[in-house]
């Protein structure tokens, strides 16, 4: 684990020094302590510390005196003062004399963690002149974002392009295509990656709960709220907020949302303090938002605010190349989780998988593999292990298809398989020329099955 910045804790109470020492040490900081101002000054003269936490009231040299002396040595020194009780006049003096901030003892751990993190980050930015590291050739993918098809490669390119900007992104695609994974990929490839990505499933929350969930609430703001609670927007500070199923929020919440996204400011429920948060917005939907806008169910201004950069994830049936890769990934995943020795998918079962239309997309495929692994008895998944509804779906052409393209794809694949992928023969049987056939093969991502 890489070590972080150096912190000096100055407090005359041993027990306070020790508890803060261990607390910061767990967070990988280099920590040192001093029992009074003189000792602190000696240590500071010998080595530079990135941050000093100084008790205001100490015997001998006071915290304020130490602050002035350190500032005389290094005006950029970062000092947070700790007071036993909130003393406004001395706190103002401290801030005037160049302290970064002050906290009251005992300190809320959350408050202290964020204060220290923010102080050190500002300092680092100043030192590094906020130069972002460029030239990342490849995006870092979340472990389970799988796909090598040209459609997925295109998506990785889009993720790469947009990740390093702070642009609002809208991810569209059918249910189960992995919209959340793409949002995660954008986040972990952005400069916000060390802060969390907060997911809110807008469709799953009742409107009354959504407000408290998004904006938080103050202690005692309603019966049972014994502690204050930060909302999702506050938690996403310096990170990303991912609003899934954005099409399902009410018109009232749309107004609130637009305001927060534009101002990056809000109040907690029952609170007067204006909370500021620096977040990036990524949304996802499988609903036709444009139609909702026309029908007056989705605000046009919010639509344009959210739809700045769009990534469309194709359904699995349009990127069949990825099916075998995904199937192997899930077999591997579930064999670990279930502690089973299933190693592969049999050739016949894979043919089934390749030719199924997957209306539930990757999630449906994952469920199918999971189910097959539960019922399977051998080290490879057979056709019989696959869910029942799949067993009616075979590689043969059937008349249930509604889309012409889907029927065309299946028919071309059928003839290709019958001719063992002899292009000339297939083109001849289909009564089209070879170039047209090649174009169709590319269009439908048809590949010769290799097992």
């Amino acid at each position: 684990m890489e070590k972080k910045e150096k912190i000096l804790i100055v407090d005359d109470e041993k027990i306070v020094r020790e508890s803060l020492y261990h607390w910061f040490e767990d967070d990988n900081y280099f920590v040192d302590t001093a029992e009074d101002g003189e000792a602190a000054l000696k240590k500071y003269e010998k080595e530079k510390f990135d941050l000093l936490l100084v008790d205001m009231k100490m015997p001998g040299m006071s915290g304020l005196d130490l602050l002035s002396k350190i500032k005389a040595i290094d005006n950029d020194a970062l000092i947070i003062l700790i007071t036993a009780f909130a003393s406004v006049p001395s706190a103002i003096t401290a801030l005037k004399n160049g302290a970064y901030d002050y906290v009251t003892k005992p300190v809320d751990p959350d408050e202290l963690a964020h204060l220290v993190q923010r102080a050190l980050e500002q300092r680092a930015l100043k030192i590094e002149n906020s130069q972002l590291k460029e030239n990342i050739d490849e995006i870092i993918k979340p472990d389970n974002l799988i796909g090598e098809s040209f459609q997925m490669k295109k998506i990785y390119e889009l993720v790469h392009t947009v990740a390093r900007t702070d642009t609002t992104v809208m991810i569209r695609g059918e249910s189960g295509t992995g919209k959340e994974l793409v949002a995660k990929a954008i986040h972990i490839n952005s400069s916000r990656k060390y802060f969390p990505i907060i997911t809110v499933n807008c469709g799953a929350l009742a409107e009354s709960l959504l407000e408290s969930e998004l904006f938080g609430h103050e202690k005692g703001s309603f019966t049972g709220a014994q502690f204050k609670r930060k909302g999702k927007f506050e938690m996403a500070d310096r990170g990303t907020i991912f609003l899934d199923e954005i099409g399902s929020i009410s018109l009232k919440m749309q107004i609130e949302l637009l305001r927060v996204i534009e101002t990056k400011q809000f109040n907690r429920v029952g609170g007067n303090e204006l909370i500021k948060s620096d977040f990036r917005v990524i949304t996802a939907t499988n609903e036709p938002l444009e139609e909702l806008v026309k029908a007056g169910k989705f605000r046009e201004d919010l639509y344009y605010r959210l739809n700045v950069f769009t990534i469309v994830i194709p359904p699995l049936r349009e990127r069949r190349d990825d099916i075998s890769l995904l199937a192997s990934f899930f077999v591997n995943k579930f064999s670990k989780v279930m502690n089973k020795q299933v190693k592969k998918v049999s050739k016949e079962a894979m043919e089934f998988l390749m030719n199924h239309d997957w209306p539930g997309n990757v999630r449906e495929l994952e469920n199918a593999i999971e189910r097959a692994m539960v019922v399977g008895k051998t080290d490879s998944i057979t056709v019989d292990d696959l869910p029942f509804h799949l067993s009616n779906n075979n590689s043969e052409f059937n008349g249930d298809e509604k889309s012409l393209a889907s029927m065309e794809r299946k028919y071309i694949l059928k003839i290709l398989n019958e001719t063992s992928w002899n292009i000339s023969k297939t083109a001849q049987l289909l009564e089209i020329d070879r170039v047209t056939l090649y174009n169709k093969i590319n269009k439908y991502s048809l590949r010769k099955a290799e097992y």
Binding site: D11, S19, W23, E25, D26, N28, K105, P106, V107, D110
Partner: protein
């Protein structure tokens, strides 16, 4: 090496049972519940109405020589270390003992609505987190990792419920 759960002023037998079941799924080590007969009264701060966790651990050290393994003290009472208003838990880095309080893991403290599943999820995360410290792990920068620091309940909920690939190698007998 075994893992011992020592309930001290802990009153939910069901949560204890579920925690043991969940930890048993994750560790190849045996998970045992032990009664240390530890009296917490001396560690109660009248001013703060909380219990001083470092002192509780120090007391537990005197009672646990015969147990060869990691010991997690599990309590319902609110715990603290001086300088901080509260802590969810404390552990000896690379040591044997840790303490975990479920007091502030209850959802009703925050939203007024009880949620037993969420309480279990949080308890598992924090138990793994404290055990991670006992196995020598410090806080991890990966939000998917249970060793990510969680100074507030929101961070407990955000972080993952298992160790990342980097941290997992330190944990003896962890299954997946």
């Amino acid at each position: 090496m075994e893992i011992f759960i020592a309930p001290v002023k802990f009153y939910s037998a069901l949560l204890l049972q579920k925690l043991v079941t969940e930890l048993s799924k994750r560790f190849s080590s045996r998970i045992q519940v032990i009664d240390l007969k530890l009296n917490l009264d001396d560690f109660f701060s009248i001013d703060r109405k909380q219990y001083f966790s470092t002192q509780i651990i120090a007391e537990a050290m005197k009672l646990t020589d015969k147990f060869n393994g990691k010991i997690v003290l599990l309590t319902d009472v609110d715990i603290f270390v001086p300088a901080l208003t509260f802590i969810f838990g404390e552990a000896q880095l690379n040591g044997k003992h840790s303490i975990l309080s479920v007091c502030r893991l209850h959802e009703e403290f925050y939203s007024g609505i009880s949620n037993e599943n969420l309480l279990l999820e949080r308890t598992i995360k924090e138990a793994l987190h404290e055990l991670g410290h006992c196995y020598g792990l410090r806080h991890c920068v990966d939000w998917e990792c249970v060793m990510h620091s969680s100074p507030g309940i929101e961070e407990v909920d955000i972080k993952g419920n298992t160790f990342c690939n980097k941290c997992i190698s330190n944990i003896e007998g962890y299954k997946s």
